[in-house]
C-alpha cells in the first residue's frame, strides 16, 4: 500500500504515448453495421423487417415508375406505348397527363396569357416576407431574394408576360432587393403594401381600385396619428374616417382616377381560380388577414377584463371546436343569411372570410403562447417608464411576442395550406380533388388516378416540408438566443 502510494506520488511521465489504433474488428463499415443494424437479436429482427418493407415498396413501385410514359395524348395511347415497350400486362405511370395538363393543376382556369400574373405575385411574396422571416442571416436573405428574383423573372418571361410588365417587374425586384439591404423599414412598408399588389395582380382590373382601398387605410392611420393624444377616441375617429371613405368616396375616386390615368390589367373572374393558385390565394390571404385579428383576440384573451376575455374565449373555442368543413359549408350555405338582404358576393370571397375567421382562432392561440413567454419584467419596465397599455403592447410586448410566435405561425400556415384542399367540397377547384376529377372526366384522361395524386402530393410535400424545416430552424435559433 505504502509502496503504491509512494509510486503515485513520485511518478512523472517522461514520454507521451502515441494514439493507438482500435482492434481491427471494430472500425469502418463492419463496426458501423454491427452498431447500427445488428447490435442484438431484436435489432437484427428490426433490420430484417425494415429491409422487407423497403423490398416490398421497391418491388411494387419501381416497375411502375420505370415504365412511365411522358409523351402521349391520352390514357389509351399511354397503355398502348407501355404494352409495346414492356410487353403485354406491364403497368406503368402515364405522366403524360401532367405534361399535358400541368397548367390546370397550377393555374386552374386562369387565362393562359395571364399565367405570369399569379407567378409574379408568388415571387414578390418572398420579398414581402423577407424583412420579417429571413432577418436572421444575411446570406440566407440574399439567397432567397436572388433565387426568387431570377425565377420570377425567368418564369414570367417564359409564361409570356408582356415586355412592359417584365420591365416593371425587373425594376420592382431590384428595388426591393436594395430596400431590404439598405432600408429595412421601407422594406417593411412593402410588406404591408404587398396584399394590394397581389390582389391587383391576381384579379386585375384597374389599379385604382386596390389603391383607393389602400387610401382608406392611409386616411384612417393619418386621422389616428393626428388625434393620437385622444387615445381610444382617435382610434374610433380613424376607423370612422376610413369607413366613410370606403363607403362614399372610394369607388367614385377609383373610377375618376381610372378615366384620368388608365392603368389596368385584364380582369379575371374569381370563377377562373383553381389549382394551386386557388390553394395559395386562400391560404395566404387567410393567414395574412388572420394576423391582426389573432393579435386582437390574443390580447383580449389575456386581458383582465372579464367581459372582453369571455368574448375572446367564446369565439376562439367555438372556432377551434368545429371542423373546418362545417365552416366552409357555412360560407356556402349560411353566410348570405347573415348579411343584409341582397348582398351576394362570390364563393371564393366567402370562403376566404370563413378561412380567415378559422385561422384567426388558431393564430390567437399561437400569439397567446408568445405573449405568455415574455418575462413579466418587460411589462413592469414598460409600466415604470409610463407607457400606457397600447404603447407598451405596440412598442415593447408585441414586437417580441410576435418574433417568438413566428415558428408557430408558420406551423399554422402549413396546417391551413393543407386544409385549403377542403374547399373542394363547396365546389371550388382545389388542385387535389376537383381539378383532378375534372381532368379525369375528359375522355382522354379517364382512369388517370395515381399521376395527379403524385404530382399534387409532391408539390404539397415540397412546400410544407421546406416550411416546416425552416420553422424548426427558426425555433432552434430562438432557443439559442434565449439561453
Amino acid at each position: 500500500m505504502s509502496e503504491l502510494h509512494a509510486e503515485t506520488v513520485a511518478y512523472v511521465r517522461d514520454s507521451m504515448l502515441p494514439q493507438g489504433a482500435p482492434p481491427s474488428r471494430q472500425s469502418g463499415s463492419v463496426l458501423w453495421l454491427r452498431q447500427n443494424l445488428f447490435s442484438g437479436p431484436l435489432n437484427t429482427i428490426l433490420t430484417l423487417l425494415g429491409l422487407a418493407v423497403v423490398w416490398f415498396l421497391v418491388s411494387h413501385f419501381w416497375p411502375w415508375f420505370s415504365h412511365s410514359v411522358w409523351n402521349a395524348s391520352s390514357m389509351a395511347e399511354c397503355r398502348q406505348i407501355i404494352a409495346e415497350r414492356w410487353g403485354q400486362g406491364a403497368t406503368g405511370g402515364c405522366f403524360a397527363v401532367i405534361r399535358e395538363r400541368w397548367n390546370q393543376f397550377l393555374f386552374g382556369f386562369f387565362p393562359p396569357s395571364e399565367y405570369w400574373r399569379p407567378t409574379a405575385a408568388f415571387g414578390l411574396m418572398f420579398f414581402a416576407i423577407a424583412p420579417v422571416l429571413f432577418t436572421e442571416s444575411r446570406a440566407l436573405r440574399w439567397t432567397v431574394m436572388a433565387v426568387a428574383a431570377v425565377l420570377t423573372f425567368a418564369l414570367c418571361m417564359l409564361l409570356g408576360a408582356p415586355p412592359r410588365a417584365l420591365l416593371v417587374l425587373a425594376v420592382v425586384v431590384v428595388g426591393l432587393t436594395a430596400l431590404n439591404e439598405y432600408a429595412h423599414r421601407a422594406a417593411l412598408v412593402f410588406s404591408l403594401l404587398f396584399p394590394f399588389v397581389a390582389v391587383w395582380l391576381l384579379w386585375g382590373g384597374s389599379i385604382w381600385g386596390p389603391l383607393c382601398v389602400l387610401a382608406g387605410f392611409v386616411l384612417g392611420f393619418a386621422v389616428w396619428r393626428a388625434l393620437s393624444r385622444l387615445g381610444l377616441f382617435a382610434v374610433a375617429a380613424g376607423v370612422a374616417a376610413a369607413a366613410a371613405w370606403w363607403m362614399f368616396m372610394s369607388d367614385r375616386a377609383a373610377s375618376d382616377l381610372q378615366s384620368l390615368l388608365p392603368v389596368a390589367l385584364p380582369y379575371v373572374e374569381s370563377r377562373a381560380f383553381g389549382g394551386f393558385v386557388l390553394a395559395i390565394t386562400i391560404g395566404v390571404s387567410g393567414i395574412v388577414m388572420s394576423l391582426p385579428l389573432g393579435i386582437i383576440l390574443a390580447l383580449a384573451r389575456r386581458s383582465d377584463m372579464p367581459v372582453v376575455k369571455a368574448f375572446a374565449v367564446m369565439f376562439i373555442e367555438f372556432i377551434r371546436g368545429v371542423p373546418l368543413i362545417t365552416l366552409l359549408f357555412v360560407a356556402s350555405l349560411l353566410l348570405n343569411y347573415f348579411l343584409p338582404p341582397g348582398t351576394n358576393f362570390d364563393i371564393i370571397l366567402r370562403v376566404i372570410i370563413m378561412v380567415t375567421l378559422f385561422a384567426s382562432a388558431y393564430m390567437a392561440e399561437v400569439i397567446r403562447g408568445g405573449l405568455a413567454a415574455l418575462p413579466k419584467g418587460q411589462y413592469e419596465a414598460a409600466d415604470s417608464l409610463g407607457l400606457d397599455y397600447w404603447k407598451a403592447q405596440r412598442l415593447i410586448v408585441l414586437p417580441q411576442a410576435l418574433k417568438i410566435s413566428i415558428p408557430g405561425i408558420v406551423g399554422t400556415f402549413i396546417g391551413l395550406f393543407k386544409d385549403t384542399t377542403l374547399v373542394t367540397f363547396v365546389g371550388l377547384f382545389d388542385p387535389l380533388k376537383q381539378m383532378a376529377d375534372t381532368i379525369r372526366a375528359t375522355f382522354a384522361w379517364k382512369g388517370a388516378y395515381w399521376e395527379p395524386y403524385i404530382f399534387t402530393g409532391a408539390i404539397f410535400f415540397i412546400l410544407c416540408f421546406s416550411m416546416s424545416r425552416y420553422s424548426m430552424y427558426l425555433e432552434q435559433r430562438l432557443k439559442r438566443e434565449h439561453r
Partner: protein, 420 residues
C-alpha cells in the same frame, strides 16, 4: 409628520369613467359588450329578414319527421321510416365509432413509430422518419383519396377470390385467411355468440347481455386490482419488500375473460365466399375502412412526433440520476422517465384526438355516413333547413370538442408540476 392635504376619495365625476382605473375597465367592457351585441343583433336581424323573404321559419320540428332515406351503416336500428333525429343519432354514433377506433389505432401506431424513430437501428429510424414526414406534410384529403383509389382500383372484386377451374384464384385472403379486402367492401371475421341470453333492459336502452357481463367483469377486475396494489404498497411501506403482484393482475383480467368467453360460447367466424360474395364474417363498408386507415395513418405520424419529443424531453440526466441511485432499468422507466414523459405527451396527444375527431368529417370524401353526411347532408338537403341543421351539427361537434378538452384540462390540473 405633516398631514396630507386633500381627501382620499374624490367625489365621482363623469370624466372618471375614462380616467379612473376602476371605472375605465368597466367603461371599456360596457362599450365592448354593446358593440358585440350590436353586431350580433345586426346578424340576427339580417337572418330573420332573409328567412322571412324566403318564406322560411326557424324551427327544429322537422327533426321529428320521417327521414325517408336509408343509411347503409348504422349501429342502432334505423330505416327510412325513422325520424331525422334518429338519422342524426346514427350519424353521430358513426362519427364517434370511426373517431374512437381511429384514436386507438393512431395511438398504437404513433407510439410504436415514435419509439422506433429513437432506436439505434439506422435503417428503421430512417424508415420511420420518412413515414412521419411524408404523412405529415401532405393533406389528409390526399391520403383519403389515395387509399380510396387503392381500394376501388387495385383491390380484387369478390368474385376474384373464387377458384377458377384449375383450382387457383386470382386473389387471396390476407392475414392467415381471415381478411378479404375487395373493391366493394372489406370482409373481416365476426364475433358470434352461441348461447346468447338476450338483451338486458336498462331503463330506456337495452344492452346485449354478454357485452354487459364483460364490462362488469372488467370493472370488477380493475377495482380488485386497485385494492391488490394498494395492499402491496402498504406491505412495501411497512416492510420495505414489495410482494410480486403481476400474476394476480394477469389472473384478475384473464380468468373472467376466458370464463365468460366459454360461458357465452364466443367464437370468431371468418368470412367465406358464398357464390359471388363473402358471408359469415362482417362485410365492412370500404368508406369506413378507408377513412379509418387514412385518419390513423395521418394522425399516427403526428402522434409519433409527440411521443418522440416527449421521450426526448426527459433529460438524460434524469435517468442517469436514477441509475446512480441504484434503480434498475424497469423502475427507472416506470418511476422516473414515464411519469415525466407522459406529462409532456398527454396534452398534445389529446389535442390530436380532437383533430382526428374533427377530421372524421372528411367522411364526405368516401361517402361514410357520419354526422355531416346525415344531419348536415341528406337531412339538410331534403328538408331545406340549412340554418337549423348546420347550427345543430356545429353544436354537436363543439360539445364533443369541449368534452375532450375538458378531459385534458382535468388531466393537466392533476399532473401540474408543483413549482414555484
Amino acid at each position: 409628520m405633516t398631514d396630507l392635504p386633500g381627501g382620499q376619495d374624490p367625489p365621482f365625476r363623469l370624466s372618471m369613467l375614462i380616467r379612473d382605473r376602476r371605472y375605465r375597465s368597466l367603461t371599456i367592457q360596457a362599450v365592448v359588450f354593446i358593440l358585440v351585441m350590436l353586431v350580433a343583433a345586426w346578424l340576427v336581424n339580417n337572418t330573420v329578414e332573409n328567412l322571412a323573404r324566403m318564406g322560411k321559419t326557424f324551427d327544429f320540428g322537422f327533426l321529428d319527421n320521417r327521414s325517408g332515406y336509408d343509411i347503409p351503416f348504422s349501429l342502432i336500428p334505423y330505416n327510412s321510416d325513422s325520424t331525422h333525429l334518429r338519422a342524426a343519432g346514427v350519424g353521430l354514433l358513426n362519427t364517434l365509432l370511426v373517431s374512437a377506433l381511429g384514436c386507438l389505432l393512431a395511438t398504437v401506431l404513433g407510439v410504436l413509430v415514435g419509439v422506433l424513430r429513437l432506436s439505434n437501428n439506422w435503417l428503421v429510424s430512417r424508415l420511420m422518419t420518412v413515414y412521419v414526414e411524408v404523412f405529415r406534410n401532405v393533406p389528409l384529403l390526399l391520403w383519403i383519396l389515395v387509399i380510396m383509389a387503392v381500394f376501388t382500383e387495385v383491390m380484387p372484386s369478390p368474385r376474384d377470390y373464387r377458384p377458377a377451374a384449375d383450382g387457383s384464384a386470382s386473389a387471396q385472403m390476407i392475414l392467415f385467411d381471415s381478411v378479404a379486402p375487395t373493391n366493394r367492401y372489406t370482409s373481416v371475421p365476426a364475433l358470434r355468440v352461441e348461447h346468447d341470453p338476450g338483451a338486458v333492459a336498462l331503463g330506456p336502452v337495452s344492452v346485449s347481455a354478454p357485452l354487459l357481463a364483460f364490462v362488469l367483469a372488467f370493472a370488477a377486475a380493475w377495482l380488485i386490482n386497485r385494492w391488490v396494489r394498494a395492499r402491496a404498497q402498504a406491505r412495501q411501506d411497512a416492510t420495505g419488500i414489495r410482494p410480486a403482484t403481476w400474476w394476480v393482475t394477469l389472473a384478475l383480467f384473464l380468468v373472467p375473460l376466458v370464463a365468460l368467453w366459454r360461458l357465452f360460447g364466443l367464437h370468431l367466424v371468418t368470412p367465406e365466399l358464398r357464390g359471388f360474395n363473402f358471408a359469415g364474417g362482417m362485410n365492412l363498408d370500404n368508406g369506413f375502412v378507408v377513412l379509418l386507415l387514412a385518419l390513423s395513418l395521418y394522425t399516427g405520424a403526428f402522434i409519433a412526433e409527440i411521443v418522440r419529443a416527449g421521450i426526448m424531453a426527459v433529460s438524460r440526466g434524469q435517468s442517469e440520476a436514477a441509475a446512480a441511485l441504484g434503480l434498475r432499468a424497469r423502475p427507472i422507466m416506470a418511476l422516473v422517465v414515464l411519469p415525466q414523459a407522459l406529462r409532456v405527451i398527454i396534452p398534445p396527444l389529446i389535442s390530436q384526438f380532437l383533430n382526428l375527431t374533427k377530421n372524421s368529417s372528411l367522411a364526405i370524401a368516401v361517402g361514410y355516413p357520419d354526422l355531416r353526411a346525415t344531419l348536415g347532408g341528406t337531412t339538410l338537403n331534403q328538408t331545406g333547413r340549412e340554418m337549423e341543421s348546420m347550427l345543430l351539427m356545429m353544436g354537436v361537434y363543439l360539445a364533443l370538442s369541449l368534452v375532450i378538452s375538458g378531459v385534458m384540462n382535468v388531466y393537466n390540473a392533476s399532473v401540474r408540476l408543483k413549482e414555484r
